[in-house]
Each structure stands twice: as C-alpha cells, then as structure tokens.
C-alpha cells in the first residue's frame, strides 16, 4: 500500500464513520427507529410471501 493509498484509506474511514454516526443520530431524531419498530413487531405478510 503506497502512502497515497494509505491517506485515501484513512480519509475514507474517517468520512464513512463520521457520516454513519451523523446519519444514525439524524435518523433517531427523525423517529425512524420508531418506524422500524412499528414494521418489525407485526408479521410482514409481503416479506413472508403471502400478500
């Protein structure tokens, strides 16, 4: 791995990690986890191939 590749890898890691954290927080603030919860606690008939 060259020095340039290493710098790029480091940049991508930090960028992806930071964006991931921001996205999770933003999602929680928007209440998306509650939408996920509402979907996950009912049998999803489409998911299991019924309708």
């Amino acid at each position: 791995m060259t020095g340039r590749d290493r710098k790029l890898t480091r940049f991508l890691r930090i960028a992806a990690f930071s964006i991931g954290m921001i996205f999770v927080l933003l999602g929680v603030l928007r209440g998306e986890h509650l939408e996920v919860f509402a979907k996950a606690v009912r049998i999803c008939l489409e998911c299991i191939g019924i309708g």
């Binding site: 964006i19 991931g20 996205f23 933003l26 996920v36 979907k39 191939g49």
Partner: protein, 307 residues
C-alpha cells in the same frame, strides 16, 4: 514429536479447526438474533423494544425467533412509508458496521450465510462458474440493491405515498425460509391465503438452495443486497486481510478454497471477499493474515505487509 512434524500436523489441521471455530460463531450469532424461542412455540413474533434495533445481518424480522430488525427490510419500510423518502437510521447503521468490519459480517455473523455454508457441505460436485458468466452476474446484487431496495421503494409509491418492500416481497429467500415457512406451518389461515406470490417466492428459495449446494455462497455472490452494500467498504474497512508477498509461494491453495472465488493473490481485500479466513487457514507459509487496524486516526503508520 519433532518440531517440524508438529508444525506440519498443525498446518494440516488448521483449516478444519478454523472452520469449526467459524461454525461455532455462526451458530452463536444465528441463535442470538433468533433467540425468541417462545415465538417458535406459539404462532407469534417478538414485540419487545429490541425490534427497533437494526441488525447488521440478513435476518427476517417476521421470523418467529427474531429479536431485532432486518436492515434490508427496515430500509424499504422507512423509504416506502409515508413520512420519509430515505432512511438515515438504517443507512448510517450499515455504514458503521461496513467501515468497521466490511464483509466479515457475511463470513461470520449472517444466519443466511450459515444456511448457505451448511448447504455447501452437502457432498455434490461443485460447479466452476465460467468467468464470462460469473463476472456480470456478480453485478446483479448491486442492481438489486439500487433498484429493488433503494429506488423503487422511494419512487414507485401509491396515491398515499406508500410502497411495498419490493426486495422482500419478490426476492428475499431469507424471509421465505425464516418467516414464511414457520408461519405457514403454524397458522392454517395463512396457509389458505398463500397463492401465486408464495409459489414464486418458494421457487426463488428452492433456486437459492439448489444454487448453494453446487455453487458456494450462491446468494452472497449474485443476489444479496446487504453483501453488495458491505462490499463497498471492503477495501478500507478497519478489519482487513493482508498478504505478505515476500512469503507467498504462489501455490494458489488460497484461491482453490475461497468460496467466493476471489483471486486472493491479486486482490486480497476484494469487494467479494467475505473474510471467512479459509485462505488464511490453508496457507502453507502463513503469508496471509487478518487484523483490525486501530490506526484510523493516526498518521505515518509503518506498514510492513503488502496488500
């Protein structure tokens, strides 16, 4: 026992030991994410608060044992809902797992990966898919991720702004296996409503099962949108594989055992690598290693090994 003989025996036993260790982790992971035993006993699913947690693995949330939410199902549920067009919560969670582990999750944690590995153990002649067919087919999982999981739930909505989970509805064999079959076995009224869609999904499941018997990790290679998402992070995830080219004797043992048919000596951190570690276990000269790089935030780290 002489040192040389002991080393030879250890090297010979290592792939078997490694596979037993990996199987143990896979079984533990499958049991952990599907730990709601009461769901299998009575015809119901878990409704506790852990269901709002997005799991990093493909595991249908309608499985009677599921304790968490499937990321692919959740992504479509939020995008296809009336409130939001994009799910930051799910994408962010997957990005975090991706940057930490890459496709290590496919190799060690995914219950549907375990199913495929077990099917692959059935004694049958394994097919070598010619590169002309294999290479374009591998792009299919990216198309499925982009079209069925992201674009259609966002754009193909009804008058209320709601869209069905297209991937789950028309493709996902994990949903049929983990959710559909148990519920249909336990619930007569659901059995009566099963129609053309059920037959279609059962057909897909049978295709994936047969495919996995003859082509290792058939679903991961060609169809899995979650694997496609994680593969975007494989080249720079903190968990990575390393090949010491000064040790490598080019025997190709690693490439012969790779279930994903990765050219290990050329692209050890290929997007297709599921980090199962078979290559590392079989290497006769210990040229392959894996590690968590903890130097994400530090500069000028000396790197001895060559990628």
């Amino acid at each position: 026992m002489s040192g040389m003989h002991r080393d030879r025996v250890e090297t010979k036993d290592r792939p078997g030991l490694h596979e037993r260790f990996r199987l143990l982790i896979q079984l533990a992971s499958a049991a952990l994410v599907n730990g709601y035993a009461a769901g299998f006993a009575g015809c119901k699913i878990f409704t506790g608060t852990s269901k709002m947690v997005c799991l990093p693995v493909l595991n249908c949330y309608s499985c009677p044992g599921a304790l968490g939410a499937c990321p692919i199902g959740s992504l479509q549920a939020v995008e296809g809902g009336a409130k939001h067009n994009i799910s930051f919560y799910v994408l962010g969670t997957l990005m975090l797992f991706g940057v930490l582990f890459g496709r290590l999750i496919c190799g060690f944690l995914c219950p549907f990966g375990l199913v495929q590995d077990l099917l692959g153990r059935i004694p049958a002649r394994k097919l070598h898919v010619p590169e002309k067919i294999d290479k374009p087919l591998r792009y299919l999982k990216y198309v499925i991720l982009a079209v069925l999981v992201i674009l259609l739930p966002m754009l193909a909505v009804n008058q209320f702004g709601i869209a069905p989970p297209y991937f789950c509805k028309y493709i996902c064999p994990a949903g049929t296996l983990e959710g559909g079959i148990p519920h249909l076995l336990m619930n007569e009224s659901l059995r009566k409503t099963a129609g053309a869609l059920w037959n279609w999904k059962l057909g897909i499941l049978i295709l994936v099962i047969l495919g996995s018997v003859f082509v290792p990790r058939f679903f991961c290679r060609y169809l899995c949108p979650l694997g496609a998402f994680y593969s975007l992070f494989n080249r720079f995830s903190l968990f990575r594989m390393d090949l010491d080219k000064s040790k490598c004797v080019d025997c190709k043992s690693c490439e012969n055992v790779c279930p994903m048919a990765v050219k290990v000596t050329e692209h050890i951190n290929s997007p297709e690598c599921i980090r199962c570690g078979k290559c590392k276990a079989v290497c006769p000269v210990d040229a392959i290693s894996s590690r968590f790089e903890t130097d994400m935030l530090t500069r000028n780290v000396a790197v001895k090994k060559v990628d």
